[in-house]
């Protein structure tokens, strides 16, 4: 009897999902195949945006408010992950053997980290003209963090220092202050003064990249910590 109900439920869910797929497919097929969305509008507004690349213009200027909130999401995720730390912090690391005992790893790090960091900086700067920007740069910085954490260079309890907290929050803080100051200046959030728009965006992007990188690395470390503990505890 129980399995019968389960089967009915299973069938029902599949039917609903199939219906959902058909509904969506029908809607997609009914859309105008030549619909251009806002492509032309964006192109027309690019000269006023302070940057040349449309994606960056949308992210940091036209819909910059979304990005502000999105960075808040990342910050909230970091806070949330920290808040879950068990009362006694685990000392486990991903690699039991610290890197400074392994010369190959150490040299590798010495080469890779500056290179990646430079690439990240380039990405942030180039975002104004071609594909790139804070997210790509931040992701690379995050990769540095992951490398350092995996090799045991960074301790897992790193967030206890105010400098780390500041680095995580910097992107949001800078962005928010710009938003509030522009609100005070122009009556609406995030209306950048025209001649300065490019510079303001670059400043925001730099802070964002830093915070995104640090946040991603910290999220990874928190999850990795947990994963290690998980493995050790498992029977």
């Amino acid at each position: 009897m129980n399995t019968f109900i389960q089967r009915c439920l299973h069938g029902g869910v599949i039917a609903v999902l199939a219906g959902l797929a058909i509904l969506l497919a029908r809607a997609v097929l009914a859309l105008d195949p030549e619909g251009r969305g806002l492509a032309d509008t964006v192109s027309a507004a690019i000269p006023d945006s302070g940057v040349l690349h449309p994606l960056t213009a949308v992210l940091l200027n036209f819909r910059g408010y979304d990005t502000l909130l999105e960075i808040a999401v990342l910050l909230v995720a970091v806070l949330a992950v920290w808040s879950l730390e068990p009362p006694v912090a685990p000392c486990a690391r991903v690699l039991q053997e610290p890197a400074h005992r392994n010369p190959v790893l150490l040299v590798g790090l010495g080469v890779m980290v500056p290179m990646i960091a430079m690439t990240a900086g380039y990405f942030v700067w180039v975002g104004a003209y071609r594909p790139g920007g804070a997210f790509q740069g931040g992701a690379l910085l995050g990769a540095i963090g992951v490398m350092l954490a995996s090799t045991g260079v960074l301790p897992s309890s790193i967030h206890r220092t105010i400098r780390v907290r500041l680095a995580v929050a910097a992107g949001f803080l800078v962005f928010l202050l710009v938003a509030l100051l522009t609100a005070g200046g122009s009556g609406t959030l995030l209306t950048y003064p025209k001649p300065w728009a490019g510079l303001v965006i670059l400043a925001i992007e730099t802070a964002l990249a830093l915070s995104i990188g640090v946040s991603l690395a910290l999220l990874f470390m928190a999850a990795a910590d947990r994963a290690t503990v998980h493995r050790e505890d498992a029977p």
Binding site: L20, A21, A39, D66, L219
Partner: protein, 100 residues
């Protein structure tokens, strides 16, 4: 035509992801399923942005925002699930062996 193929694939991914979210008992599998569904949604956005020849940047920006949100939520969910495992030993949402 390309748009249609990508769109249909995206819809399929989305629906499969939702199915997995419902059907898979293990929390990590649920999370993977959820990410598959997200991938479907993002793919659909990018695909539809390509309809008019040169791509519409707005959906791309939206996808980027969506990805960051998805990454944040996934990381949090993983840590949450791990913490719960430490507390209760449960790896499934309705784990019958969950310690009270």
């Amino acid at each position: 035509m390309t748009v249609t193929i990508y769109s249909m694939a995206a819809i399929a991914l989305f629906v499969l992801g939702l199915y997995g979210l419902w059907w898979q008992p293990h929390l990590l599998r649920k999370l993977v399923s959820l990410n598959i569904a997200s991938a479907g949604a993002f793919l659909l956005m990018v695909a539809l942005a390509f309809r008019g020849g040169d791509p519409d940047p707005v959906p791309h920006a939206l996808v980027l925002t969506g990805i960051v949100i998805s990454v944040s939520a996934t990381a949090f969910a993983v840590v949450l699930a791990a913490r719960r495992y430490r507390e209760t030993g449960a790896v499934e949402l309705d784990d019958p062996e969950e310690r009270p």
